[in-house]
Point group: C2
Chain length 429, copies 2
C-alpha cells in the first residue's frame, strides 16, 4: 500500500494523525531551516514541511521537480497553509528521481507552444490545466452515457475494420487484413443503424478515422465519435435528445468540475432549451443579406458560420434541412419537398460538433440514392438486405468528442483535448 | 412522436387509456373473429388484440413476422394476458413489411448453428436471448466504469494507430497511414502507462486488434479491451481492484438483469472475495501430480487450466507470479527472486479473462528487458524517455470484454458476445 490518503483527503480533522501520501514533487522551496514541498497527486496539491531536524531532511536534497515520492508525515492544521492543512514529514522515500531540467515546466506558468506541448505530452498532461481538461472529459462522457441509459439506450460496440467504404470512400485508411484489403471505419453509421433495427436504441463512444489532409484546429485523423441511433424516431426527436444531452452535461460539469473550470479560467454559459434552429434556406438568406455569394447546395464554411453564430447569439444552434444531394445516401428527404432533407448540424459557434438526420428505411430509395451518388448498391448489400426484414423508421447523430470539449474547456484546438492526438504528421508519442 | 409508451410501461393502471406503441410483429395468431399480435420493442412484448369490427383488422392481413408497425390502442387490464394487460387495437400503421419467410426465425425456439446466426445477425440480435446478452453487456460495462469512478479513475482515450509494435510485433495489422506504414494497436499498454504517469489512475474501454490465425471460441481479431492502469500500486492492489470490479458487476447484473438471466436460463454463482491465488510454481506441482509433463517456463494451456479450475473449484481464480521471461518487457520481476514476476492472470474456469502485473518503472531495467527479448530500445524511445521524468511505480491489467461476457451470459463462444465479430474469415456483416 503506497498511500493511505489522497492529498485532497487530508483535511484539518486529521490533525495529529500520521498519513502516507504518494505523488510528484510539484515545487520545492528552501527557507533556511525548513523545506517546503508541494506534493501533487491525482486529487491536487498539499504542502509538506520538512524540518532540518527530521529524518526526511537529508533525502530532500536529492529530490528534483517531478520526482515521485512517498511521504510519511503528521497532519497539522494550519490556517496559513494553502488548503488549511499541511503535513510535517517524518520520512520521504523517493521512487524515481527526475532528470533536471525538465523539457517542459509542469508547475510554472510558462506557456509553451502547442508543438512543444504535444511533443512533451506526458509532462504537459501533468499541468493542472491539462489534468483539468482530462477530468472534465471524463465527466462529460459519463454524463452523456447516464442520460442515454435513463432513456433506455444500451451501449454497443461496432466493428472498426470494415470491408467497404461507408459513405463513398474518400479519406479512408486501408488496413491489410489477413492479406486482404479492408478499411478503418470512418463512422459506425451503417452498423449502428442495423443495431437500431435490432434493439431500437443504441449508442457507442469509439474511435473513428478520416485521412484528413488538412491541418486545422478542428480535425484529427483519429477521433472519438459519440454516436446515437434510435428507432421509431425522426430528426426532431434526436435534436431534442441532443438538447437534453448537452444541457445535462453542462449541469454535471458545473456541479462537479468547479475547480477544473476555475483552473482553466473558463466559465460555462447558461443554455436554455430548445436551441435555436435555422434552416439551410434561411441561412442562405441571412448570408446573402450580409453580402455573401452563396447558392443552393453550397456548403456553409467557417466564415459563413461565424456570421450565423453572431446572428443567433447563443453558443449552440441547429442548422436544419440541408439540401438532400449534399447529405449521405442514408439521409431521408422531406416528403413534401424532396430537394431538402430531414437533417441537421449542431453548431457550437462556427464549429459543427454533431451531425444527424432521419434515416431512410426504404430499400428502393436507398438504392436510388446510392446510384445517384455514383455508388454501386451491390457493394452495400451487407447493409441493404436488412431493409427487407423490418427496418423501423429511425434517426440518429454522431458528435465529435474533441470538438465538444472545446466548449467545455475553452481550448481552441482539438489536438489539446485528446491525450495523444493523431494527424497527418503525428504518429508519436 | 412514434410512441407514447414502451410495451413494458403498459401496466394495468393504464386500463382504459389510449396508447401509441411501436415495434416489431413478433407473432400473429388468428382465432377466427380476433387476431392476436405479440408486439415486440426494446423493453419486451405485449399482446395486441385486433377485433374483426375494428378499423385495424384489414391492415393486419398484410402484416408479416418482423414487420414494423405503430399501434394505437386502448389498454385493457386482463388477467389472462401474459403481462396482466393487453391493448385493443384502434388502428395499426405499418412502417415496413418484412419479406417472408425470414432467413432466421426471431420468435421461434429453433436453434440455428452459429455460422447461420452470424450471417443473419441483424435478425439473430432481435431474438430475446441475444437482446438479453446485449442488455447484460451494457450493464456490465456500466458497472465496471462506476466502480472505477468511485475510486477516482478517469476514462481516457489512447491512440489506436501506432508507429511501432507494443510487445514485439507478431500478429499486427498494418495500416497505410498517409503513405507510411503504421499498425493497429494490440493493446493500449504503453499509452495507459504513460497516462498513469501523468494523472495516476486511468481506464479505457476500446477496441484492440490481433491478427489471430487460429479460429477458437475464445479469440477475435478485433476485441474490446477493458484496461486499467494505476500509479502507486502493485499487482496485489490491482488484483484487489479486479475482485471489486467483478463482484460489483455480478451484484449489478443480478439486481438489474433478472429477466435477462432467466431468458438465457443462466444463473450467476455467489462469488466471495478474495479469489483463490495459485502461483505458477504451485500450478506446475499440481499438474505434475496429475501426470502432466510440464517444465518451468511452459505456458499453461487449456487442458492444464481445466485441471487447475477443477482443483480450485471456484469460477474465478488468479494464476500469479509467472516466470519473468514469459511476460512482456514492461513486467516487473520480484526483487527477491528475479526469475519470477509480479504478474497474474485472472482465470474464469480454464479461460484467461484478464492479465496484469506490476510494471517496471526503471528505465535501465526496461532497456535490458527489451534487449533480452531481441527488441531494440531505440524503437521504444517514445515510451522510455518518460522514465527519466518521474514515472511512478504502477500496475494494471487488461481484461477481455467478450471473454468476461461468457461468464455473465453462459455463452460458449466470444463471437456470440459481440454484435458483429471479426475473425480471419469474417469481415461482414
Amino acid at each position: 500500500m503506497y498511500k493511505t490518503h489522497f492529498t485532497s483527503e487530508v483535511t484539518p480533522e486529521l490533525d495529529g494523525k500520521t498519513v502516507f501520501l504518494a505523488g510528484w514533487i510539484h515545487t520545492i522551496r528552501d527557507l533556511g531551516g525548513k523545506k517546503f514541498i508541494l506534493l501533487r497527486d491525482r486529487s491536487g496539491l498539499i504542502q509538506v514541511v520538512v524540518s532540518k531536524d527530521s529524518a526526511a531532511y537529508n533525502s530532500v536534497s536529492e529530490l528534483t521537480l517531478e520526482s515521485t515520492v512517498q511521504v510519511e508525515g503528521i497532519v497539522k492544521s494550519d490556517k496559513r497553509a494553502p488548503s488549511g492543512v499541511e503535513v510535517h514529514a517524518l520520512s520521504i522515500k523517493p521512487f524515481s528521481i527526475a532528470k533536471s531540467p525538465l523539457p517542459l515546466e509542469v508547475s510554472g506558468k510558462v506557456e509553451s507552444d502547442i508543438e512543444t506541448r504535444l511533443k512533451e505530452r506526458v509532462l504537459d498532461l501533468r499541468r493542472v490545466e491539462m489534468t483539468s481538461v482530462l477530468n472534465i472529459s471524463s465527466e462529460v462522457i459519463r454524463s452523456f452515457r447516464n442520460t442515454l441509459y435513463s432513456k433506455r439506450f444500451i451501449e454497443v460496440f461496432t466493428p472498426k475494420i470494415i470491408a467497404s467504404a461507408t459513405e463513398g470512400g474518400a479519406q479512408l485508411f486501408p488496413v491489410i487484413y489477413f492479406g486482404r484489403e479492408a478499411f478503418l471505419a470512418q463512422s459506425p453509421q451503417l452498423y449502428k443503424e442495423l443495431l437500431a433495427g435490432s434493439v431500437e436504441r443504441v449508442f457507442e463512444i469509439a474511435p473513428a478515422w478520416r485521412a484528413e489532409e488538412s491541418d486545422t484546429p478542428y480535425h484529427l485523423s483519429e477521433f472519438i465519435s459519440m454516436d446515437v441511433e434510435m428507432a421509431f424516431a425522426d430528426y426532431h426527436d434526436v435534436m431534442e435528445l441532443l438538447e437534453d444531452l448537452v444541457t445535462n452535461m453542462i449541469d454535471v460539469v458545473k456541479t462537479h468540475c468547479g475547480k477544473e473550470l476555475a483552473e482553466l479560467k473558463h466559465e460555462l454559459p447558461n443554455i436554455t432549451k430548445p436551441f435555436p434552429k435555422i434552416s439551410y434556406s434561411e441561412a442562405l438568406e441571412i448570408l446573402r443579406g450580409k453580402g455573401f455569394t452563396i447558392k443552393f447546395g453550397d456548403d456553409i464554411g467557417t466564415p459563413e458560420a461565424r456570421i450565423l453564430a453572431e446572428e443567433v447569439g447563443t453558443p449552440f444552434y441547429f442548422l436544419v434541412e440541408w439540401p438532400s444531394f449534399t447529405r449521405p445516401f442514408y439521409t431521408k428527404s422531406i416528403d413534401s419537398n424532396p430537394d431538402l432533407s430531414e437533417s441537421f448540424d449542431l453548431m457550437y459557434k462556427w464549429i459543427e460538433i454533431a451531425s444527424g438526420s432521419t434515416r431512410n428505411h426504404n430499400r428502393k430509395v436507398l438504392e436510388e440514392n446510392l446510384r445517384r451518388k455514383g455508388l454501386n448498391p451491390e457493394n452495400f448489400e451487407f447493409f441493404l438486405r436488412w431493409f427487407d426484414y423490418g427496418m423501423p423508421p429511425h434517426a440518429g447523430f454522431g458528435m465529435g468528442f474533441a470538438r465538444l470539449m472545446l466548449f467545455f474547456t475553452g481550448l481552441n484546438n482539438v489536438k489539446e483535448a485528446i491525450p495523444f492526438p493523431r494527424d497527418k504528421k503525428r504518429l508519436t508519442p
